[in-house]
Amino acid sequence: MSEELEYYAQNRRGVSGWFKVRGYVIERKLYALHRITGILIVLFILPHFYSTGWHPGLWWDALLGVIVTFHVANGLRLTLLELFGIGIGRPLLVKKPFQRPVSIEGKQRYLLAISIIIFIVLAIIWSYYAILVKPLMGG
């Protein structure tokens, strides 16, 4: 194994490696965000278990909505791609440096756009409910 490969296999960058997104494709940024939102959701659900009615409150509830809806929308994209293999195309040998892998082109990018639209719509609905509707209902 070459030195560079060994470096990545040992994952010496650790968590800081998630934030190495500059110059990478958008999927890499979504990967980092998916992990961060996942950890934030775990930080919310643990106190929510022990005190069932606990919620962070008005604006924090809206932020929680943004975090959850992002994780759900991106998670659906990942499920379609990784579990069902939708949109990734047939594997081809990449001829560097001009050819981009088929897995980050084509239909997969439509799925990405759809997941972002789903995220925006769901986040708006959740935030609208948390900020405007719930306080009126005495929540």
Partner: protein, 106 residues
């Protein structure tokens, strides 16, 4: 359990969370449909029991994947797997007990 089976369960629980989580949100926030769900204690409890199990598996498996990626070591991977399983089972028992108490069943 094979790593591929664990990850298959990760995706399956994600889909279960979307359905049961939506029911949970409706039951606690919607005055019309939510009332139908929350008025039936056993329907609500059944949904919450499935939601809790799926959520805990998904959450703790996510943490496990992050931790074993941070330290790629065979012994560490095994240790983390068992520790996460133990914490997950204990959290499910405590969470289910809190749920029963909140519903006034114990």
């Amino acid at each position: 359990m094979r790593e591929s089976t664990k990850m298959l369960l990760h995706y399956v629980t994600a889909l279960i969370i979307i359905v049961t989580g939506l029911i949970h949100l409706l039951a606690n926030n919607d005055p019309n449909v939510g009332k139908l769900i929350s008025s039936n204690t056993y329907l609500y409890l059944g949904n919450m029991a499935i939601f809790l199990a799926a959520l805990l598996y998904h959450a703790f498996n996510g943490i496990r994947v992050i931790l074993i990626e941070l330290v790629p070591d065979k012994c560490w991977t095994k240790l983390i797997g068992w520790a996460i399983l133990l914490i997950g089972v204990v959290t499910y028992i405590v969470g289910f007990q809190v749920l029963l108490m909140a519903l006034g069943l114990i």
